[in-house]
Subunit: 687 residues, 2 copies
């Protein structure tokens, strides 16, 4: 194991630490070392028994872990960045996760000054521990359809929160099951006889004295799940539960005391900002998920040997040895594009965060011009990259063969904990409609503008309009490449993605506007167009990012890529763009841009870049992600390659192995195998 | 919930019981009722706590269950069919699973008469409980590479079984961890200074007196896994462990006592028979997996309402209500092809079993002419259908939105327990090479025969050669269809699949034979050609099966399809064939057979058949699978549609809910929220 990885590492053409620094910056990497030293020494963060525990034990352990994390952060006065980095290294959801992830951010963005004092400040000290209760048994995707009511009672200046039907039960609320004593509750605000739809209320739910449920509130844990079992997702019912008026988070909209008159928010677009942030940050989480999984699978594939490749047998001295599975082209085709995707998501996630901050700044000064584009891209990218990451983790698991099925590979739990990302924060199929809607509107506007004669192409300042406009200039354009080598040209790749996305947009707009097809009948095409648009974005940002042509966020220093790392990343971007075409050429062909011959050339280009460019650097690329063994917690993915020893050692700790003869033998096996309790009949069995 | 399903059921155009009878036969359905009554009353089979347990408890429960199942089968003198049907209804792997699934079948096919008496007969009475120990830590796919040795010792007429390296540890062996007292061990037979490669030995491993490990054997459980956690997959090491000569299963090959001379098997093809059986039976298991998952997702999608579809709002009386998610075309596009795939696998699994028996009969009389085709198809179909089923179960899980993530949906555990099928019995990527090899050979032979002038097309008697020959007649053929309606023609569909598969075969043979590319460099294309070939088989059997034109196994009575059911199944077969083209049109386009316009027409045809033909019958199709609630164990998939009530009731039984205040509160929460132990400070929180 060890020698094999050393050998792999010696082949790397770039400085691994250079690339890591480009990805994370020196500061982050130093901090990782420092935090790691702390975390590895704290028993509450010990991962050695993680894979053996049932849910009840795991929840208890996660609470202990969350407690210890807060204590440690207080002791060392961690910044939010340090906290997040430590959390990522521990890599286990917990009962306080939503307190930090949703409860406090909601308070921060929707509280009045008074509410900041009353709620947010105690929450920051963990005196209040909160959760975010939006979803109900009957409504998740359709937030506007939630049924919990909050009726303003002028007489007492209170709201009465109530659960009118079983389907109005709050459900899935992380931290609510057992840990939280407060909740942000989304409920329909009713006042003066009118229903103003969902609004956020801060509501105490458990006693500050002894943590029992408050009268009028019923809550509990919703039970075991595919993954994410260390969080106490909960359910809750209100029975005419009264809270004071200050419970309504009132930065944007409020109620006049007494009259109960509703004061509208000045601009309802403001809330989109947060949604963009969450979705953009999931692009980063997708990168992290893919990168972790493919680190394990790539290292293991370099170590795992199976069969002799007869056409080019590997030798050790003068002996034929089996081939590392990473040398099989099929294994490369499964894993290398995942490495490339993780790097692709790195650039796009960076760009989305830059756009988020820029847009927030613009909106604060009343300029909403970026919002639609950023919101559409973040929705589509959330859908695409989380779908990619979930598939990637499972592909990596399978690429480890039988041992990928063992918990000790780290991959099963990783998949299970990752996969809610495809459902929460906007179901991946549902939210692509938002991306589609924006694309169609942009297209219609552009067509109208071009027709108006007052159109100036040089004023186009966003990439979506740019590719749509190029397409409209010549919808019948054909790709000029005639050799496999030409497809390594990044401009040619980008043009193909742009043309294909624009072609799909044009087709759908035609179906909707001319053929008058219904929106519902077009949902499959709408999903596909969102994918196409977002693949374009990923490809573009990858290319610009490597070239250093991506706009830099304000006040952030540029990190230069070494020429070797730049070349290696260019190979990855090349693979990223070409592999997706090769794997799903359909729309590129039906758009008319590529022909069958070209797709076959692309196939050759893909195989060529994988074998000759990526293969020598594969281990280097995953090493550059700089995930410590503590994070991966995987027998197969260890940095030092000691796969089989570690795996065996982990198995010896299985609880069933602590007794030689299993519980239940006397009752369930012996009656068959030795009903008379004969002594020494072993000999018979040994014949 | 209930009313909605009743309403759905009233729309079904065929008799659900008719279709169930066509699928299973009356006998099977009657037996199901009878068995169900027994199983539901046996506490060891109670599933109500299944989702709450950790691995240690689950293994203990599974052993109890396996014991009870054997007792019940003995009491009622079940036939093997009854046993298997009961097992499928209980639907949980257990420590005795491999005893029945691999240990006894291996003994049955490789034992001498003496070995049948000594091993198989006691095994049938569960006096011997066995497992099948082939895989090692270092070798799974490459069986020829295993390292455990069995050296013949002439002096004592014994074999010495030994584990020379860590990587030679037996690993993954189901039942070995704790339950088995014997193992079939695959070990390299060494005698008279020569290594004859892997052979099967029957070896006692635990004492018949008290179940302790025998001296010279070390074994234990390999620990927690992604799924399949109710089986004690184990590991084992031998330390110069001696067993008598009769341990070598000697029906086919043996050792002469004393001299140690090796007696070769008369024909080494015989062992392929069993492999065909196992792989063919996995096609049936894939059907079962898809059918179970899609039953849950389809019923739930009919009940789940989310959003109002503005173009065609649903009404209840004069009120607009939300749309059932099954009415969204995207949801249909995700689920209906899975229903169709389950039916497709039904026909092909039936056909593969017929071919298996026919081939065994032929081989017994020395005719091996079918073997290559049947082996190639069963390998490719194992790979394709298990990959499809694993993807289908996960898609169904996601199609249930958030609630699909809850264990109570039944889908998480179903996925986890199903998914080893993509890895065991031949890794899904690896075994397609076997299919490819056969296809290329067939193609080369056919080309040679055609060139020889002595070729008579009417003598072609297998579907593979038939489509290859049609292609060779005219490689440039184009699909004649010019309207969406024409694509509903099953012959046109089949021709497209045949042409595409043949085109891929021709391309690869050219690359290998003319361009001299290496086998390894072609693995991606080889995988794809196997998929294409097997999709052709699935489409063809679906069509022939509905038409009653599939050959009937000897001695099995024909069950007639009612005209209504026939029409409904034809819609499914139509969707099955068209959806796969629409989703992945690439190869159909690059083969030149279809053009972009036609793919777009196919898209229309798919949408049309889903909305107008499949939609009204969706619930009927899944009802016809006739899975009782006891089997599905799903809050979302209940026959009566009582989704939300059942789900809520299941959550109340979560262990965490048995105490109002969670364990750990005093230590990990209170120090933050109420460090001084103040009484009554609830008020502060309630403001
Ligand atoms: C682990 C986990 C943790 C969570 N934590 C929280 C939390 O802390 N707080 C909180 O408030 N919520 C939480 N949630 C809830 C989560 O936000 C919702 O489950 C999610 O939004 C999906 O909504 P749903 O379940 O209603 O899906 P549904 O909308 O019911 O989806 C069912 C199916 O219908 C389809 N569908 C729905 N609408 C359409 C449409 N218009 N067009 C086409 N198809 C459609 C979907 O694609 C899906 O296939 C959590 C969920 C999970 C799984
Ligand atoms: C739940 C479970 C139960 C099991 N039960 C048993 C049992 O009871 N008895 C028993 O003997 N075994 C059992 N097994 C073992 C199982 O048969 C093996 O795990 C399986 O055959 C895969 O082999 P592997 O792990 O060596 O995969 P590997 O061959 O190591 O696969 C690793 C990767 O290499 C790739 N690869 C390998 N060879 C090639 C090639 N030539 N070309 C291209 N790619 C290649 C694979 O596709 C895969 O991606 C069980 C496994 C599991 C998961």
């Amino acid at each position: 194991g060890c020698d094999l990885l050393t050998q792999e590492r010696s082949k790397t053409t770039f400085g691994v630490h250079d690339l890591s620094t480009f990805l994370y910056g020196e500061l982050y990497l130093e901090r990782q070392e420092r935090l790691l030293a702390l975390l590895e020494n704290e028993p509450a963060f010990n991962k050695s028994n993680r894979y053996f525990k049932g849910r009840t034990e795991r929840i208890a352990g996660a609470l202990r872990k969350d407690h210890a994390l807060v204590k440690l952060s207080q002791k060392h006065k961690w910044t939010p960045e340090e906290f997040m980095q430590a959390e990522a290294l521990i890599d286990e959801a917990g009962p306080f996760g939503l307190h930090r992830g949703m409860f406090m951010p909601t308070l921060a963005s929707q509280s009045t000054d008074e509410q900041i004092e009353k709620f947010l400040k105690p929450a920051m000290r963990y005196e209040i521990i909160g959760c975010y209760a939006q979803t109900e048994l009957g409504h998740g995707s359709n937030v506007q359809g939630i049924e919990t009511t909050a009726t303003y009672i002028p007489e007492t200046d209170e709201f009465e929160i109530h659960t009118p039907y079983l389907t109005a039960s709050k459900w899935w609320i992380g931290g609510l099951g057992k840990a939280a004593n407060h909740a942000v509750v989304m409920a329909r605000l009713k006042t003066a006889g009118k229903d103003y739809g969902p609004h956020a209320f801060v509501v105490p739910i458990r006693s500050m004295e002894d943590h029992t449920l408050l009268p009028g509130v019923m809550a509990g844990d919703i039970g075991p799940k595919f993954g994410y079992n260390t969080t106490d997702n909960g359910c809750m019912w209100f029975d005419h539960y009264r809270v004071p008026r200050i419970s309504l988070l009132a930065k944007h909209s409020s109620i006049k005391p007494g009259s109960g008159e509703y004061v509208k928010p000045p601009n309802d677009k403001l809330s989109y900002g947060t949604m963009v942030l969450v979705r953009a940050s999931l692009v980063g989480a997708a990168r992290q998920g893919m990168a972790k999984a493919v680190t394990i699978a790539t290292r293991y594939s370099a170590i795992r040997r199976q069969f002799v490749d007869k056409d080019s047998p590997k030798m050790l001295g003068d002996q034929i040895i089996e081939t590392s599975v990473i040398d099989y082209s099929m294994q490369q085709y499964r894993l290398f594009p995942i490495i490339a995707s993780a790097y692709a998501c790195f650039f796009t996630s960076k760009e989305m965060m830059r756009l988020y901050y820029l847009n927030m700044k613009n909106m604060a000064s009343g300029d909403f011009s970026m919002l639609a584009d950023v919101h559409a891209s973040s929705s589509g990218l959330k859908s695409l990259t989380t779908t990619m990451a979930a598939a990637a983790i499972e592909e990596c698991r399978r690429a480890c063969g039988g041992h990928g099925f063992s918990s000790f590979s780290g991959l099963p739990l990783m998949l299970q904990d990752y996969v809610p990302n495809v459902t929460w924060e906007g179901d991946n199929y549902m939210i692509t409609q938002q991306t589609g809607r924006y694309l169609f509107k942009s297209f219609r506007d552009l067509v109208a503008k071009r027709a108006s004669g007052k159109f100036n192409a040089s004023l186009i300042n966003n990439p979506t309009l740019a590719y749509l406009n190029t397409y409209l200039d010549n919808p019948d354009l054909k790709c000029p490449a005639t050799s496999a080598a030409q497809f390594h040209n990044l401009e040619i790749q980008l043009a193909a993605y742009g043309h294909r996305a624009a072609h799909l947009v044009a087709d759908i707009v035609n179906a909707l506007d001319v053929e008058k097809r219904t929106w519902n009948s077009m949902l499959v095409e709408i999903y596909n167009v969102s994918v196409a648009h977002c693949q374009f974005i990923l490809v573009q940002n990858f290319i610009l990012g490597i070239r250093g042509e991506m706009p830099q966020p304000e006040g952030v220093a540029v990190v230069e890529l070494s020429p070797q790392a730049k070349e290696a990343l260019t190979d990855l971007s090349d693979l990223f763009a070409l592999h997706m075409i090769h794997k799903q050429p359909g729309e590129f062909l039906t758009s008319g841009y590529l022909n069958a011959k070209q797709v076959s050339l692309i196939g050759k280009a893909v195989m060529d870049v994988m074998e000759n460019k990526i293969r020598p650097n594969a281990v280097g690329f995953v090493d550059a992600f700089a995930f410590p063994d503590f994070l991966l917690n995987s027998a197969l993915g260890r940095y030092d390659g000691k796969v089989y020893e570690t795996y065996t050692e982990m198995a010896t700790r299985e609880p069933l192995n602590q007794m030689e003869v299993m519980e239940g033998y006397e009752t369930y096996i012996k009656p068959f195998t030795n009903p008379q309790g004969k002594k020494g009949n072993t000999m018979q069995a040994r014949l």
